[in-house]
Amino acid sequence: MAKFLKKGGKETPGISTASLPDIVFMILMFFMVSTSMRQTDRMVNVKLPDATEVTKLERKDLSSYIYIGSPTSQYQSQFGTDSRIQLNDSFKTVEDIRHFVAAEREALSEADREFMTISLKIDEGTYMGIVTDVKQELRRCSALKIMYAARKKVVTNY
């Protein structure tokens, strides 16, 4: 009978975790390729408007960003809730755009300067007044290539 009294029985073998590093590395590679480094901390809330006819920004390295929106909650006590302009890491006024554009242009190589694109990341609730002021200022410092950043809306056909 000893045959039947075998102690311990057959244990289920543990799942091998040897391939776990490979899987995680694969996910890591995916993220490294598909994302880009965050350049600035957002100090304003920006909810981009939707659009269907969007195009991709061709050269990310040639683009500068202007954020316009209501300051995030941690800055609201200081700056209020009105729409503000954020350039790099601080709140600026329309007049500062001139220096910002000049600095950004200076940072590019001479051949690339004419392709510089200003990407306007503007909250959808912003009034056009401030947007118009920014656009006029951009015209004045002849940064004419702009892009209204918008999220691609998926068109649903019912």
Partner: protein
Amino acid sequence: MASKKTPEINGGSMADISFLMLIFFLMVTTMDAETGLSRRLPPMPSEDQQVQDLKVNRRNILDVKINSKDGVMAGGEVIYSDAQLEEIVVEFLTNPTDSDKLPSKKIENIEGFGEYPVSEGIISLQNDRSSSYKKYVEIQNILVKALNNIRDQFAKSNFGKVYNDLSAEEQEIVRKAIPNRISESEPKDVSKK
């Protein structure tokens, strides 16, 4: 004498290390798709230059106006739906019946294609200071959509493909035949009149 084997390095912590790196990348990178509507602003007229109104025939301009309450008006009509605006824009840019109320066409010789009557219509988008940006982008989007529709139609009837599938030269031809004439006009207060 038993040869002493070098002990294998334990690879068990590899997963932990790569997880750590994964978390790091998740934190410091963004995945915003950089998409949007590309535009070219008109250059600022220099100060000594007299601001002169370009003599553009009245029939060649389509005024699209957004007021402070986000109401839209195009060519004297109040717009209630997106499709209505698109229809007006398409009709304005193509002028299928050669009506004398819609823009004139100028026969132009396009390289690699031949002669084609190019519409001289200009869409002028005006907004009030207190219109919302959301509406503005929405209207811009409709204008681009109408333009893309016309280009697609032209491309299909001449090359048998939609615009995006054409080669670079063919796209150039289509762009010349149906130019993008959406003007970012000088700011005006639409409501104060």
